[in-house]
């Protein structure tokens, strides 16, 4: 046994600080390294904590709706959908079919938009710079539709409690169909750029493996769970807002590694296009808003409603005490819970894999910290 020399490495603690281009926001990861290998990680979060749940206790139900958009700001339409569904359940009303169909279209566009951001930034972290430009160009078209519909591109506040505020504009269905027609070949283009690329394959396979048991133990949902092989999607298991009328498949993976998650999300984009096409072809006529009182005072009670957001299971637990302001709003954030599994996935990986793993969890710090 030789004496330890100058070149032997000891455990190094490295700070991947809150300001880092690859942490997708203000996330601080403290890495314990042995040379290049990771022995353990620790996530320090809370840099973007704005107290959204506390704000919820001080605003009326309608006033709180713009705030929930700002938790997952990349995919803000889903947040609004989850919140409106939760309050509607508390009030025991259901949005009319036309509102439900439009909600489905906008939410699926939102899913495509969120996955495009994921794709662009994840591949950027891994080293492929060009997909970022292409995905953001597609995203511009989706945000143009949002802008024409509700007036804002990112923090949309698209839905109201009980239905929709705005009637559809002229040509909405045709624009959605045109977008779908334009978009599907683009997905093939991304696949041509990325899927067979040996660098990507080498950096993604067997990196960040999370088996199905681990996923269930850590409460991980969304594309991560599906990539581990569990075909569970809340849109099929507990359908909401009319999803049972549409035909789509749930893509699953086999190994639960980063490459499988990449394939699952690409396929989800294609399935979203399928849903949008079906929904845009048959938007029913009728009212867009259910009969909801002007001043919303739900009866005393609590309800937990969750939807399949692009990142996982997004849930809202709303406790009402009979007044116009909620007593407690709890947002069950998929990114927060998925981020817990970072430590499990990162042990034994290399430092360069940490970046890939953080990217594949698809976190948005606004949702992690609220």
């Amino acid at each position: 046994m030789a004496d330890p020399t100058f070149l032997d490495s000891t455990e190094l603690v490295l700070n991947m600080g809150p300001q880092h281009p690859s942490t997708h926001g203000v996330l601080r990861v403290i890495l314990k390294l042995d040379g290049e290998k990771v022995l353990g990680t620790e996530c320090v979060i809370g840099y973007l904590h704005r107290g959204v749940e506390k704000i919820g206790e001080n605003r009326t139900y309608q006033m709180f709706a713009p705030y929930v958009d700002r938790t997952d700001y990349v995919a803000s339409v889903s947040n609004g959908l989850g919140y409106c569904l939760a309050v509607e359940k508390l009030l025991n009303v259901e949005a009319p079919p036309r509102a439900q169909a439009v909600r489905v279209i906008l939410t699926e566009l939102n899913r495509i938009s969120s996955h495009l951001v994921w794709l662009g930034t994840h591949c950027l972290d891994i080293g492929a710079i060009t997909p970022l430009f292409y995905t953001f160009r597609e995203r511009e078209m989706i945000m143009d539709i949002y802008e024409k519909y509700c007036g804002a591109r990112l923090t949309t506040h698209a839905f109201r409690i009980g239905g929709l505020q705005y009637e559809l504009y002229e040509g909405f269905e045709q624009e959605c169909r045109d977008l779908c027609d334009w978009f599907l070949p683009r997905v093939d283009e991304y696949e041509q750029l990325l899927t067979g690329n040996r660098i990507l394959v080498a950096r993604m396979t067997n990196v960040g493996v999370l088996t199905a048991e681990d996923c269930k133990a850590y409460g991980v949902t969304g594309p991560m769970l599906r990539a581990a092989g569990v075909p569970w999607d809340l849109r099929k298991a507990q359908p909401y807002s009319g999803y049972e009328q549409y035909e789509f498949e749930i893509p699953t993976g086999k190994n639960g590694d980063t490459y499988d998650r990449y394939l699952v999300r690409m396929e989800e984009m294609r399935q979203s296009v399928r849903i949008i096409r079906q929904a845009a072809d048959r938007i029913p006529d009728g009212p867009i808003m259910a009969k909801v009182p002007k001043v919303i005072k739900p009866p005393v009670g609590e309800v937990y409603v969750s939807i399949e957001a692009p990142k996982g299971e997004l849930g809202y637990l709303i406790v009402s005490d009979g007044s116009t302001q909620p007593y407690r709003v709890r947002i069950r954030p998929p990114s927060f819970i998925n981020l817990q599994s970072l430590d499990k996935m990162a042990r034994g990986a290399l430092v360069a894999d940490i970046v890939a793993i953080i990217g594949t969890i698809d976190i948005v710090l606004g949702e992690v910290d609220r």
């Binding site: 979060i45 704000i55 569970w232 637990l317 981020l339």
Partner: protein
Amino acid sequence: MAEEGKPVPKPPAAQAGSAAPKAPPQMAATPWESELTQALAARFGDEILEFSSYLGQEFLVARPAAVIPILEWLKTEAGFDYLVDITAVDYPARAERFELFYILYSFARNQRIRIKTNLPDGGRPATATGVHLTANWLEREVFDMFGIEFAGHPDLRRILMPEEWQGHPLRKDYSILTQDQAWVRENLGIESAQ
């Protein structure tokens, strides 16, 4: 729109000189009976105080000491292997101030269930990390926001607020304008404007 005191339902005997004490408005929950409740009642007896359902969502109320055994039983015997969320609600007017929620889901049954338990201020429930690994950060967040300590938690620290923050933000007596002035002065170098 910051209201300092939340309109809490007043407890029955708190008002001096009022004609008849008003009971706080209760949730219109309906009792819930199924083979799962019968199995739970057979196993846990009077540790479970009620089985109810509201708007189609089933929940049960249990004593704090029985929660972890119930979680274990539900995971091993009934297939509720996915802990969706742990959170708490603060009712400062009640003696048992905090109501702790555990939301579970079973993939096999496609069913969600809530377990509620009432804790007094200073109550220390056992940690659920032995049963579900996801409880780690969830309990840290409940500790951070409410101050409920979980006995046996491997790493109970603040998660969203800074480490040295004093106060637990989501309690009702912590107004929305409150800030830990000492922390702000030390770390940001300004006098807090709140």
